[in-house]
């Protein structure tokens, strides 16, 4: 398989890349930290990747998103799978009093992703096929008091993907929305982890399965489908009082 991963040094992306490397995939990695990308390249090639190329680029800073996509297309020729794993958890408290923070959070978690999807769509349409998998979050399913800025951004991406899925269908392109629950990753460092927390490795397995089964929405781990069903079912007059 020929795979483009954006936000490749994230814990979930790293674990997913390893599974595909073991299946002798060809990988094009885009991330911010060049040293870590180089380490990943060595690691993935040892694990069996047929070839790996890296591109150090800050997706949020550089708005010319056509460039990385074109470089990837040149290296991979035909991009079978594009995985976008980029984002960061904003501080809800400081967001609520500072719109600049909100703007930044929306830009990182939503606008840059949507911009990337726009460019990738062009490429996928050209090659008439491929899969686009984007990591959003269960946080996007309902605006909860502890993290509704992050949730709002992720929700924007999910809504966008729903529409895009239909638009790309005639071209044989499949769009997957991956919604992880609580993941024990660097993004959540320092938080106490309870029984519902999953490892990036287990999320990666769900992603790979979701891609091969052509699912539309992947809850990772799958029990989040039921948890979020319950969360969505709570009547608003009760929900507004909950600090969950």
């Amino acid at each position: 398989m020929k795979i483009l991963i954006i936000g490749a040094t994230s814990a979930i992306a790293k674990s997913t890349a390893r599974i595909y490397a073991e299946r002798n995939s060809q990988l094009f990695l885009v991330g911010r930290d060049e040293n870590r990308l180089n380490e990943m390249k060595i690691d993935l090639e040892l694990r069996g990747a047929s070839s790996v190329r890296i591109l150090a680029l800050d997706i949020v800073e550089h708005e010319e998103h056509a460039i990385p996509i074109n470089l990837a297309a040149k290296f991979l020729e035909n991009i079978d799978l594009t995985l976008i794993c980029h984002g960061s958890l904003p501080n809800q408290e400081s967001c609520e009093t500072n719109f600049k923070e909100i703007e930044k959070a929306i830009k990182i978690n939503a606008l840059s992703t949507i911009s990337l999807c726009t460019e990738i769509s062009k490429q996928l349409k050209k090659q008439k096929g491929g899969t686009l998998a984007v990591i959003t979050s269960v946080a996007g399913e309902r605006g909860r008091q502890p993290n509704f800025i992050y949730g709002a951004a992720k929700s924007m991406v999910s809504t966008y993907l729903q529409g895009l899925r239909g638009k790309l269908l005639p071209f044989g392109i499949h769009v997957i929305d991956i919604k992880p629950g609580l993941v024990d990753s660097p993004m959540t460092a320092g938080l106490d982890k309870g029984p519902l927390w999953a490892t990036p490795e287990s999320i990666a397995v769900q992603i790979v399965n979701g891609v091969s089964r052509k699912q539309h929405t992947v809850y990772a781990p799958s029990y989040w489908r039921f948890i979020m069903f319950a969360v969505r079912s709570i009547p608003e007059f009760i929900f507004k009082k909950l600090k969950i």
């Binding site: 930290d33 990943m40 690691d43 040892l46 660097p186 320092g190 938080l191 029984p195």
Partner: protein, 436 residues
């Protein structure tokens, strides 16, 4: 956040740092305003407080493969890589890790820091004998290479040094070639402790050897046990196998583990084998890591957690002293759930490594009132017979007990003070036993 060792005792609040790269670890060491002691932590599989401190720095994300060389039969990987990951990678290529502990979920860094041993210690020694080189980040952030020839003092102190000399960043491991990763297992029954130890002595040629003791059997049956011997099969599967796992999602009430249920469990194990077959071929997973089948089995001991008590004792007088220990436990009524007896081969020169020629017994105790006095009594028996306790499992040993049994502790401190004069690296354990 709250942090514990695998035994879930003690439970402390600590600053837990999980840097994603070596550079970020260096950066956090250089934060000048922070003078709080710090200890590295790998997979968190040491039982007690050896990876607990006010600041704990995780090597979990240093988990990349760096090099693999068929010619030298070595693999170099980040210290956060687990044995499971390495096994999955090397077994299809016909290699195996020369020393495996009872779980595959330990990190390479942790395996070196505790100089772990396995079921083949009598033949192959401990883990660090197969570490050909390691990179160590010192208190000043500098990274240096250590091996038997490069900085040998520091290598000797770091192997088994419980993370107190610095942070192990990566390591080169020597692998062994095997014909198969399937294990031909022979399970022998011993009716009491004497018979068990005789069988272990007679079967010393076996590559792997370990005995499960029923600690609740008393009087004439004291120490009745099953001895599991193992050899690699001549041929058979080389590929990695994965088993489905059970999981204990939360702490079960510790009342479930009582004298009656433990006794039933041990009798069941004993009788299963008694009426089962003597020789079988099993996957390496089930031979080496039987407990890994149950994820988070440590939660079975309830919210209070448990302690593992593992000691090594010289061969002279070993039968008497082990049976004295068993009798004392039996009299106390605190039945350990699992007890594992194993024979050690020669020890090595690492200052704080645990194994030496003799026997080792590991016992799990639920944390409860009256346990510490019992363990203190056991300490005396063990010290009187020239034994010592395993640091990777300890949560309670006193400074006196430690210094009377780890005689090279001063040599260790000499080396440590050269690279870490201000004792930046310190754990709750190292404070307790008077090393920092």
């Amino acid at each position: 956040m709250r942090l514990q060792g695998w035994g879930r005792f003690p439970d402390i609040a600590a600053e837990f740092i999980e840097p994603v790269s070596v550079e970020l670890i260096q950066k956090s060491l250089k934060e000048k305003n922070k003078v709080l002691p710090l200890i590295p932590r790998g997979a968190g599989r040491s039982y007690g407080d050896s990876a607990l401190a006010s600041r704990v720095i995780s090597t979990r994300f240093l988990d990349q493969f760096i090099a693999f060389d068929h010619k030298t039969q070595t693999i170099q990987c980040g210290s956060g890589t687990t044995l499971e990951t390495v096994l999955k990678f090397i077994t299809p290529k016909g290699y195996f890790i020369p020393v495996l502990p009872g779980t595959k979920y330990v990190s390479i860094g942790g395996a070196i820091a505790a100089d772990i041993h396995g079921k083949n210690h009598h033949k192959s020694g401990s883990f660090c004998s197969y570490v050909s080189e390691l990179s160590l980040m010192l208190a000043n952030g500098e990274i240096i290479k250590c091996s038997e020839t490069k900085n040998p003092d520091l290598f000797q102190a770091t192997c088994g040094g419980m993370g107190l000399t610095g942070i192990i960043v990566d390591a080169v491991l020597l692998l062994k070639r095997v014909t198969s990763v399937s294990i031909r297992k022979r399970s022998l029954i011993a009716r009491d402790l004497t018979e068990c130890m005789d069988i272990i002595d007679e079967t010393e040629d076996s590559e792997y050897s370990v005995a499960w003791l029923d600690c609740l059997a008393s009087k004439a049956r004291l120490g009745r046990s099953i001895i599991h011997l193992g050899e690699h099969c001549e041929n058979g599967r080389a590929e990695h196998e994965s088993r489905r796992r059970m999981s204990i999602p939360f702490s079960t009430p510790s009342i479930l583990l009582n004298k009656c249920s433990i006794s039933l469990f041990n009798s069941a194990l004993y009788n299963l084998r008694k009426y089962g077959s003597e020789i079988s071929t099993v996957g390496y997973d089930s031979y080496f890591f039987p407990l890994d089948f149950i994820k988070n089995w440590n939660r079975l001991y309830g919210p209070q957690g448990f302690l593992q008590y593992q000691f090594a004792i010289p061969i002279t007088n070993s039968k008497q002293s082990i049976s004295e220990v068993l009798k004392k436990i039996h009299a106390s009524g605190k039945g350990p759930l699992l007890s594992v007896l194993k024979k050690f081969g020669e020890g090595n020169n690492n200052y704080l490594s645990f194994p030496f020629r003799g026997y080792s017994l590991a016992l799990d105790f639920k944390k409860e009132v009256g346990l510490f006095p019992l363990l203190a009594e056991l300490d005396e028996i063990i010290l009187a017979n020239g034994g010592r306790l395993y640091l990777a499992k300890d949560a309670r040993m006193t400074e006196d007990v430690f210094k009377r049994s780890y005689l090279d502790w001063e040599k260790f401190l000499n080396v440590k003070s050269k690279v870490d004069p201000n004792h930046l690296f310190a754990s709750l354990q190292s404070n307790r036993i008077g090393l920092t």
